[in-house]
Symmetry: C2
Subunit: 240 residues, 2 copies
């Protein structure tokens, strides 16, 4: 069934109307009409079944017919990722949504050669991926900041899995063995790697765990997907 | 340093010449000239440092100056993947190369809606990814076949990790716990999933291990990357 992320509250029996883009998608692209049902979620009120009551020129109107799932969130996991080329950053945001990250924080590192991200586009990608993957929230896209500023203001209690391709770190599963769940972040560097200063600074943080992603050189998108997967399997909601 | 996969033998001191495409890439795109060094590998003779001796209109000529690494192969791992949309299949082939699969076997399943793959293009993608990721071989791209034919002629001794989104299978790490390394394959279905007949048949195979990839719906490329990552971490060359 089609799932849509909507901004409005979801309350039993309430009539609701979709915005022009979603109305066009539902009525014209997907050819849904009165009586057809869709699923709606807003990141706060769970997932609701809704039936189309009318399709006008301006909007698709629906009535909420029942709550399918109560609101729930995945693990409190941030993906901190160096700004990489636009196409690869878009893939990373899509995959972060599928793999259950709660936030994506683009950062500027010494070897990053981009310093802007098109956040509205990235937010649209995150929303569409969240709709498709079945989660009940959309990952937050945070304004890019410098890595050193992020580390200087690091949130107390949040641990950091730091994927260190250059070093002799343990593989991720071994590095995470014995670690506790709770707030975590995964840090993926730029394709040129971290600078020696950045590596030294990261390795000196008491909240940071360095880990290796195998014997081959990975592109940034592959590294992000692999690290998210292993973290979910070790400490997240892929555990039995 | 630039790495190139070449078809010819690599023998100490031997003069070699690159084909027109690689010659153009090296001389014109990357602007390398006499005295510059590159790395060559052919999947048989290890990795060699080679110095450019001449750049002519027809070819870049080199002399092999030393073996950097002896030939080695990753685990004997096949990725069996349903034919999905072209762009996603290309991503899957790139990632299979980065994540150390030895072969990619596209298959046609009941719910596959494509039945052709552009193998020359997929082979070029696999080669470029192998060059970038640092491996000493290129994954083999096998001609597509039907899933039922592949199962009917299954290679004795090869185990199969079957990613079963619809079932109640254990998560991958738990499903692989206690399994032995050796020849394995990973099977990724089409975005529409396997048919009930296919699932029943797969689950009945003594060599097959069903596993789940977490609580969210994954696109085929994400599922392939996650499964390859977890297999490598559990039984492959990402182990300590």
């Amino acid at each position: 069934m089609i799932r849509l992320f909507v901004p409005f509250d979801l309350l039993a029996e309430a009539p609701v109307a979709l915005d022009p883009d979603q109305s066009r998608y539902l009525a014209q692209v997907m050819r849904r009409g009165p009586g057809d049902e869709v699923l709606l979620f807003n990141g706060r009120d769970g997932e609701w079944r809704a039936a189309i009551t009318a399709v006008t020129k301006r909007a698709v109107q629906l009535r909420l017919v029942g709550e399918e799932r109560a609101q729930a969130f995945g693990p409190d996991l941030d993906l901190v990722v160096a700004l990489v080329k636009r196409a690869r950053l878009e893939v990373i945001v899509e995959k972060a949504a599928e793999l259950g990250a709660r936030r994506v924080r683009p950062v500027v590192t010494e070897r990053t050669n981009a310093d802007t991200a098109r956040l509205p586009r990235l937010r649209a990608i995150a929303t569409e991926a969240a709709e498709q993957t079945g989660r009940l929230d959309v990952p937050e896209l945070v304004e890019p900041m410098r890595l050193d500023a992020l580390l200087a203001g690091w949130e107390p209690g949040r641990r950091l899995l730091f994927c260190d391709e250059a070093g002799d770190a343990l593989p991720v599963l071994q590095a995470l063995a014995g670690q506790e769940a709770g707030p975590w972040a995964i840090l993926i560097g730029p394709e040129g790697g971290f600078s020696p200063d950045e590596r030294a600074r990261l390795r000196a943080q008491p909240y940071a765990v360095a880990a290796s992603l195998g014997p081959r050189i990975l592109r940034a998108d592959t590294a992000a997907i692999s690290a998210l997967t292993l973290w979910q399997a070790a400490l997240g909601d892929w555990r039995p």
